[in-house]
């Protein structure tokens, strides 16, 4: 079990140049902003090399674009690391991490259904939580959604 | 015997009306004792009757694609069998000389038919859950009928090989006064619990798993008839067991003997209810393994051997 300092140093080492910014909000809370082309590499680093525990994904519709957050927890070192990826508002595309982490399958389906993010390489992109007769192409959690299913 | 007398026996006493009335009382006793065991108050005395009348007033829905005639006939067949079985058993108790050789076998057959009618009804429902419940009920029948028949051999041996219900009451010492009889009686009580479809052996009708199993598609009058049939079985089975193993009702004459006999029946009913309330439900494979294993069928075989040896 690596200590917190070690892990943070390793992350800054491997991702430092590729990351857009590294922000330590608290001693045990790290935010790393990366570009969408670096998702697979960063997830492999955190999940397979550093043995972090995958927690969940979050999708947000921000004024700058649609953001997807990847949360990983290092329980023994009391550290939570979040990767922030900003995607284009009109055409949000990202690589799917389901081939690496099987547990991410459903949350990627949910983010696709509610925010419209295309995850390339996802093995099973089927409808998950919206009703069967919900029209395709209408994403309820986008700020541009007008409240009706048109 | 003249037909008028026979009809009176079938429909009034000790046939349909008598069994119906006592079945309602026994159903109420079941629910009241269950409520008391759970520190509750329980339903009023006429509740089983209210349930029956309400169900008779509900719409009857026959599932599309099901076998309509079989669906509607199955409860009637079960009810008729339970009624005639009750009449036979009470006839042997009240007029022990009036039975015929082999009426014990007829009674045992009749007591199997209600479970079979449940299976028929379940398969006629065109519903996957009903079919699953009916197939489980079939497995249960296969499992408990063997030890049941085995332990019925013991009173037959005790009565010197006679297969007439009246003869069971004419023996000097009823089977419960012998070791073999006690063992057979205990096995018979367990088989009775399964025959009545009560916990711990109600895998066929598991409410939480199968949504009432074979009865899923039944509504209105057929459902009322099925429920009445089950209450009647709750009445007939203890009477049958008391007749076979414990000297019957009223044997020996006198009001005291009748009261004692009725107390024996009520005691068996209370044993059934308490078993029902203190046990979890067993899986179908566990139930089949239990009845075919050493604890039930094995004990039954031991009882038969002991009876043959005169103990």
């Amino acid at each position: 079990m690596k200590g917190r300092e070690e892990i943070i140093a390793k992350i800054k080492d491997s991702l430092g140049k590729k990351a857009l910014s590294v922000f330590e909000a608290k001693p045990n809370r790290l935010y790393v902003s990366i570009g969408p082309e670096n998702i697979t590499g960063a997830v492999k680093l955190l999940f397979e090399e550093l043995l972090g525990r995958y927690v969940i994904l979050t999708g947000i519709d921000t004024p700058a674009g649609i953001e997807v957050l990847y949360h990983f927890s290092f329980d023994g070192a009391d550290l939570v690391v979040t990767l922030k990826v900003l995607l284009d508002k009109e055409n949000p595309e990202a690589e799917s991490i389901t081939p690496i982490i099987k547990g991410a399958e459903w949350i990627e389906r949910e983010i696709h259904e509610l925010l419209g993010v295309e995850f390339s390489g996802h093995p099973n992109m089927k409808r998950l939580i919206l009703a069967e007769d919900w029209p395709a192409g209408v994403y309820p959690l986008r700020r541009s959604f007008n409240g009706k299913a048109e | 015997m003249n037909p008028g007398w026979a009809l009176l026996q079938i429909f009034i006493f000790p046939g349909f009306l008598f069994t119906f009335a006592v079945a309602m009382i026994f159903a109420w006793v079941d629910r009241k004792v269950t409520a008391r065991v759970q520190w509750r108050v329980g339903p009023p005395f006429l509740q089983p009757l209210y349930d029956l009348v309400k169900l008779l007033g509900k719409e009857v829905i026959v599932p599309a694609g099901g076998a309509k005639t079989l669906f509607l006939l199955a409860p009637l067949v079960g009810l008729a069998a339970a009624t005639v079985a009750s009449m036979l058993v009470w006839q042997a108790n009240i007029w022990p000389e009036s039975g015929f050789v082999g009426d014990l076998i007829v009674a045992v057959y009749l007591l199997t038919i209600p479970s079979l009618s449940v299976v028929l009804g379940g398969f006629a429902s065109n519903n996957r859950l009903a079919s699953l419940g009916a197939s489980r009920e079939m497995k249960m029948i296969l499992s408990y009928e063997l030890p049941f028949i085995l332990c019925l051999v013991v009173p037959i041996i005790n009565a010197g090989g006679a297969i007439r219900l009246g003869e069971m009451l004419a023996v000097e010492s009823s089977p419960v006064h012998h070791i073999s009889g006690i063992l057979a009686f205990i096995v018979a009580i367990l088989c009775m619990q399964a025959k009545l479809g009560l916990v711990p052996f109600d895998a066929a009708e598991a409410e939480t798993e199968l949504m009432s199993g074979p009865f899923v598609e039944y509504s209105g009058a057929p459902l009322a008839i099925f429920r009445l049939m089950r209450s009647m079985m709750l009445f007939v089975m203890p009477v049958f067991l008391v007749t076979m193993f414990w000297g019957g009702v009223g044997a020996g004459g006198g009001v005291l003997a009748v009261i004692l006999g009725c107390l024996k029946i009520v005691l068996l009913l209370v044993v059934v209810i308490l078993l029902r309330n203190t046990n979890p439900r067993v899986r179908i494979d566990q139930a089949v393994g239990f009845f075919w294993g050493p604890w039930v069928a094995g004990v039954g075989v031991v009882a038969v051997i002991l009876a043959l040896l005169g103990m």
Partner: protein
């Protein structure tokens, strides 16, 4: 029908439908069926099959997915049947009033006989609602 409804009031068998509730009303409803409140005194039984049911107790504002299914369940229950809308969401969609996934409170899908407000309604309130329903119908 009058006599049938009167008989129904002596032995109302309930069937519980959750059309997208947050589960609080379901917890309170199941609580009302425990030995502490003993509704079997009134002949109330929880049944497992819709064909045995007299009273449909519906919790939850009806979601888009559950709407057609609630309608089918209502049609599967044999007549005479009653519907109870249990909880604020079932009565008026509650806090999900402007939700994009709600097709309306229960009475826009099936006719409702009694409304039990509360978020969630206490078991005492649920029993009070059933008693008022029985008084209204009988």
């Amino acid at each position: 029908m009058g006599l049938k409804l009167k008989a129904l009031c002596k032995s109302p068998w309930i069937f519980h439908v959750n059309t997208g509730a947050c589960n609080n009303c379901d917890i309170e409803l199941v609580d009302a069926l425990t030995p502490r409140f003993d509704v079997e005194r009134f002949g109330v039984l929880l049944v497992g099959s819709i064909r045995h049911a007299d009273v449909l107790v519906v919790t939850g504002g009806v979601t888009r997915q559950a709407g057609p299914r609630l309608k089918r369940l209502y049609e599967q229950a044999p007549k005479p049947r009653l519907v109870v809308a249990c909880g604020t969401c079932a009565c008026t969609k509650g806090i999900f009033h402007d939700g994009y996934h709600m097709v309306g409170p229960v009475d826009e899908i099936v006719p409702v006989d009694i409304y039990i407000p509360g978020c969630p309604p206490k078991p005492e309130a649920i029993i009070d609602g059933i008693v008022k329903l029985i008084r209204k119908v009988a």
